[in-house]
Symmetry: C2
Subunit: 464 residues, 2 copies
């Protein structure tokens, strides 16, 4: 309906109003629209009708107010690195590109926090924090924007120690469907004041508001860090090493699993020579003594499970090289079959059930006709099977989706979730009700209708 309005008489007025305010920073060029109608996944391009390149909260508010007056959808766009179809303009509308809102507004070492505009990317923040003795912990593979990471409830390799975006967003500024600007809190480390609007917006994928600024937690760079690589005879043993460490409360900073296929892909993509077996990349943070002690404890656990001797990386450049291998796993897997797209599962289960969940899921995966690999944030109970599918083959897409469905149903039956960190987007709407029941989804829809009565905020996502 909104789409219909946009292509009718209201269309010209809306375009004129946006062009009048944003000039060159409003574009309806086909290439620009196409770029804003796709993400890093297999989901097809569905372009918006125009793209605003916003540079301030006030500009975002103007764009939202204008769209609201015309009843036209608004879709926030960060770096376009999401993978569940979050940015596709399924009902048309205006994409708001946040990449111009890329200022780090404040870094406060005394409070271990920073305030940034939503278009700042995680690597940009890393660079700006150099020399402060602080770091921002959440690191999804892609160089996503902080606003996008908050909107999808992202996490990463250090979540086992430092938490998800949810744990690391202190408060945020957002433009609601009415065009009003709301700040969800101050900078205190805790608060019991009112409903938790921060956590309502984190993970809402642009369907409740456009996040324009965030205050995030920073962590002191540990005195010592060491990474270690360990190959295992099988997936069960690899998973077991991490789960045992977590159960014992050993504060591992990272524990990332790659299966043999992913290791082969990484070797080929970046010229490494790792064993092409199930492997865990560990990292330990703390004082020199703690790092040594944690490493020794986990190496002992790993050896008991048939793991190889730990291959340590202690220097910054060695560790960076090692973690680049892990972060490259997704493009490396895609590289196994050039020209293909990824379809990625994202289930997360209680850690005690992870080994069984992966083992049973691998039985499903083995039936696949296309290549696939598994990577996992094992300490969180979260793993991804990446299917490498021919973008022109509907049969492959259907096959991968059918296996994904089996994996999701199993995870939910194990008291897990269909998505540990990628979000619902378009791809997982069908699982929401099995995870939360009709009453849970009805409550979500009631909240959505209350905050966005016209249904213009990234419509068609999350609750459908």
């Amino acid at each position: 309906m909104a789409k219909a309005e946009l292509t009718a008489a209201a269309d010209t007025n809306l375009h004129d109003e946006l062009r009048g305010r944003f000039g060159e920073r409003y574009s309806t060029a086909a290439a620009v629209r196409d770029h804003h109608g796709k993400d890093d996944s297999h989901h097809p391009v569905i372009p918006p009708d125009g793209v605003v390149f916003a540079e301030s909260t006030e500009e975002v508010a103007f764009a939202v107010r204008t769209c609201a007056r015309h009843g036209v959808p608004v879709i926030p766009f960060g770096a376009g690195t999401s993978i569940e179809g979050h940015v596709q303009a399924v009902r048309g509308g205006i994409s708001i590109d946040m990449s111009g809102m890329n200022r780090v507004l404040a870094v406060r070492p005394d409070d271990l926090d920073a305030t940034v505009e939503a278009g700042v990317t995680r690597m940009q923040l890393d660079r700006e924090l150099r020399g402060t003795g602080l770091f921002f912990s959440v690191d999804p593979g892609a160089d996503a924007t902080l606003g996008g990471m908050a909107a999808t409830g992202a996490s990463g390799t250090t979540t086992v120690r430092y938490g998800t975006m949810r744990d690391n967003v202190v408060s945020l500024t957002a433009v609601l469907a009415s065009g009003e600007v709301v700040r969800t809190g101050g900078r205190a480390r805790k608060s019991s004041a009112g409903y938790d609007l921060t956590n309502l917006l984190v993970g809402s994928e642009g369907t409740l508001g456009v996040i324009t600024e965030l205050t995030v937690r920073l962590h002191p760079v540990p005195e010592a860090m060491a990474a270690a690589v360990c190959a295992f005879p099988g997936m069960e043993e690899a998973v077991g090493s991490v789960v045992e460490a977590v159960q014992m409360g050993i504060p591992v900073a990272r524990a990332e699993l790659l299966d043999g296929t992913a290791m082969r892909a990484v070797n080929g993509y970046s010229g490494y020579a790792y064993a092409e077996a199930p492997t865990v990349f560990f990292e330990f943070h703390g004082s020199e003594d703690e790092v040594r002690a944690h490493g020794a404890l986990i190496e002992e656990i790993s050896r008991g499970l048939g793991g190889s001797a730990f291959e340590y990386a202690r220097q910054q450049n060695e560790r960076a090289r090692l973690w680049k291998a892990r972060h490259d796993a997704y493009p490396a897997l895609l590289g196994l079959r050039p020209g293909c797209h990824g379809l990625t599962t994202d289930v997360c289960v209680p850690v005690s059930r992870l080994a069984r969940c992966i083992a049973e899921s691998e039985e499903d995966l083995k039936t696949a006709s296309m290549p696939w690999g598994v990577v996992g944030h094992v300490g969180d109970g979260n793993f991804h099977a990446v299917f490498i599918i021919d973008p022109d083959s509907e049969a492959e897409l259907a096959e991968a989706e059918a296996i994904n469905e089996r994996i999701v149903r199993r995870a939910i039956a194990m008291e897990g979730t269909c998505t540990g960190e990628h979000g619902i987007g378009l791809g997982k709407i069908g699982y929401l009700e099995s995870e939360f029941g009709t009453a849970g989804v009805a409550a979500m829809r009631a909240v959505k209708a209350a905050l966005d009565p016209q249904g213009i905020m990234n419509p068609g996502k999350v609750t459908g």
Copy 2:
């Protein structure tokens, strides 16, 4: 309006329906109603019209559905230990006493979590976890129920290390205003699926639903623990020692401030002989080496600020005695003026501003005509000034509230919050708008109206 209905014709039917279902477990006795219309604070008794003693989620759902049909308010009641007037029946209605829902349903050492009914108290859970090697970390002073602690977004002395209820509730089961039962998630350690209903209910103080079950995180009991007491020449130095430790990333497990008055009260209440000076109670958790190292680092910081030599408590019974002193601070302060009530401030500010916030607040406090003392969760930026007021003196209440208002306005101006852990209840409704702006409060009211269109869930609290 709801109150008027209850006292009219609907009244009899409602009482009959509840009596029919609950028998002896539905009471309209004056003493029972009075007990359920007050909490641990200065707020006056406002009794409900009847009290249901529920024993299952289905019973809570029945009571809520019945009240909803009659348009009558529902007020959940845990241990009655809240202190902002959360349980007062300001518009009449039915109190649902959750203390009969006191079963620990599951403890899962392999997943470091437990599922409990909402009426389980924190000390009961402590007892039931003995011998498992695990503990539940959140410890407000009172022996509150877990459901009540979730509803108010409680925290405690270990929050600086292990987080608030928000950080420790994995998911929960709640009865919504419609009488429908919703489960807000599974048991995975993270999820990006849909809107965060868990965090929407945590801190909602019964205004969005009645929490009936919770899955909470547990933590492994550390290999070693040591507590230490350190007296300082002044409040600024005492606060400074903790803030510096937090800023350096030293993982202190507890860091609790008591001013000279609170120390005097504690000595008198429990027969201790501590110095009656600003004092910090520290605790360190980890391996033997870590505990020694963290203690030494913080002792060095403290000495630099004029702190006394650390007086260590390493054995379980010594530590328990030390922490009992801290947990007794509130009743001990009340004991300074027998027969009086407490009015407690609860601001929380960014840690870099805490010393200044306390110093400026003490200037306000010094004008008070009644006794007061200060205790603080310094590592979180949270402190409480406890006014000990004559329950029959409206002038003292007004005076304490006026000073509280100055403390709150200052904290909000410092990007802090009016409540770090006690919640809004009746007592802090007036500050919500200064903290979140009109747009923020309007968003909260929209959420409330969406999930509770009749306004029957603990009406008059949080958003008013």
